[in-house]
Symmetry: C2
Subunit: 131 residues, 2 copies
Amino acid sequence: MNIGRAAEKSGLPPKTIRYYEEIALIRPARAENGYRDYSEDDVHRLRFLQRSRSLGFSVEECRTLLSLYQDDARASADVKAVALDKITEIDRKLAELKSLRGTLARLAEHCHGDQRPDCPIIDDLAGKRGA
Amino acid sequence: MNIGRAAEKSGLPPKTIRYYEEIALIRPARAENGYRDYSEDDVHRLRFLQRSRSLGFSVEECRTLLSLYQDDARASADVKAVALDKITEIDRKLAELKSLRGTLARLAEHCHGDQRPDCPIIDDLAGKRGA
DNA sequence: CATAAGGATTCCAGCAACTGTAAGGTCAAC
DNA sequence: GTTGACCTTACAGTTGCTGGAATCCTTATG
């Protein structure tokens, strides 16, 4: 099938699919006219990529997961390790965002937010601590 | 002062400082030998940028904040609005990450993580729902 | 049969926010 | 005078696409 149909079926835009081929994540066949020709298996792989990307895995992680997906002799422990690493990474990001949010919320809370120039947010950004 | 000293004082690498000049966030003077020459005020601006970037503001938001910083007639309401927008954005990211984390944790929990190939994580990524 | 629309192809540029590298200029110390 | 630290510019690379231009192929219609 052509790339447009594969795009519909996988939920990925054609541009992205071509990009995935460029970085060697998938290798579709070519028809005689030069068009890419996707098999059902290719579409499975594309959907796999779509889902794993949407779960926050990087393209390189997706490459690993895809090779595990295609490896019938894989150990589920290997897959689990990737998932747990990602959870750790997400936890780090969550902690960082929460901390940022706390700081911003505290600053905003102390800013009267009117037409006067006096502003604790700016003061903090400028390094004028406390007060 | 030279860029190296300004880097030390602001906590930003020289490369980043040059980049900020390239995108017109700061405009240091030049010495006769062509070296950038930073004033104390320049360093204040750099520290301001360092702090606001580290709080998660985009470079363009930093540009806005910096102009507010340098505007003695600013309304604190304008600053507060930027901060509140950023908090909203952080909340969105937090929700997304929490959701991802939940999905991954659920998948990992059901994966026995041993030497066998059977893996609910892969099954889910492949679209085999339920089971 | 011509042609126009809709898809397909390639390649190149651009987004954010830097970072790395190369090739060279300047300055202070020995 | 030469070493080494520091400065300069310019260009490439990072991540993960996305948009655009020029061209080709296929299909439907007049």
